[in-house]
Symmetry: C2
Subunit: 203 residues, 2 copies
């Protein structure tokens, strides 16, 4: 068990023991998420592996989705993207998703995102897959779940097109995709996403 | 310069010197393609770097596109895919490409293709990008070049969707995409490719 009670509070409000506890929780979360998946990994079991009280996990990291986000040590705050998507009606999701995702990846922050993405593609994608499904796509999935049960398929198809755009534009660097203006990209690729998300695709 | 003339012909028809020459040509080709790109890398310059006669390059490897294919040391013969695509009219390209590409990647050969793709994504994608554009997509590009000049954009957009399907299905392994029957995938994703290749997308 990591001791969080040693010493008085530092000026920064962070003590070595606190940092150790946070890391122990993140390690435990990565292990549990990888072993049993996001749904079955309870905060209680993660706290048990880390040797801390479950309340401390909530205190440090909030929800289980937020804990997963922290465990991935992402270079970008995903709410930069998900907030934009949440703000528009479903019939505007296609172009909005292209603009939001490509906008962030084209920004200075995007360089680190590309490096992170390369690592995911080259290694074990378990945590990244859970993050994509449980954090990034979860809200959209419930919004496009028509007919009921189709939402999971719809969002994963949309994700496949966005993954392809990002790989082509940022990883493999294929022209003219690599330097296509985001407005043009949104006009061309947006309808693809819109069809996957709300169109009749036989689901 | 590699000497190919030593010793008599072996029973297999392959001599050590011949194998050394082939490797020298492939090394020279990889270097020139990476340095100046496919278009500017002449067979003559590659032969010069390898210290052999240009005729020998043609003799061993055929066309420059075939030399690039050999230089990449691909686990799959790309004509397994391109022959299927060449055999259908342009208005059937969408579904045909999905079936051909996914069919090969889902086959036992596909396991090695996935490993190869991971390597490309994690490292220098220069040769793989040239291969995609100059070998895999070249014929389709000329077939869908309407209005003139739009073909390059059209095929790269189609490639982005196929890359995303392959990453989602074979690398990251996102359900339900990972186990979706190829018929359903072709019905859903085929129209996306068809629109990129022959639809009105403002080009």
């Amino acid at each position: 068990m990591t001791d969080t009670g040693n010493g008085g509070p530092g000026r920064s409000g962070r003590r070595p023991g606190q940092s150790g506890t946070r890391e122990a929780i993140l390690d435990a979360a990565r292990a549990r998420f990888a072993e049993v998946g996001f749904d079955k990994a309870s905060i209680r079991s993660i706290a048990g592996v880390a040797g801390v009280d479950p309340a401390l996990v909530h205190h440090y990291f909030g929800t289980k989705a937020e804990l997963l986000t922290a465990a991935l040590d992402l270079p970008i705050d995903p709410t930069l993207i998900t907030d934009q998507i949440a703000a528009v009606p479903v019939d505007a999701l296609g172009e909005t998703i292209v603009r939001a995702v490509v906008g962030v990846w084209d920004s200075p922050l995007g360089l680190q995102a590309v490096a992170f993405f390369r690592t995911v593609l080259g290694g074990d994608a378990t945590l990244a897959r859970q993050f994509l499904l449980e954090v990034v796509l979860k809200d959209v999935r419930s919004r496009v779940d028509s007919p009921p049960g189709s939402g999971a398929t719809r969002v994963v198809l949309a994700a496949s097109q966005m993954i392809g755009v990002l790989v082509g534009r940022k990883i493999v660097g294929i022209e003219p995709l690599a330097s296509m203006p985001v407005d043009q990209l949104a006009r061309i690729v947006g309808p693809t996403l819109q069809r996957y998300l709300t169109g009749d695709i036989g689901l």
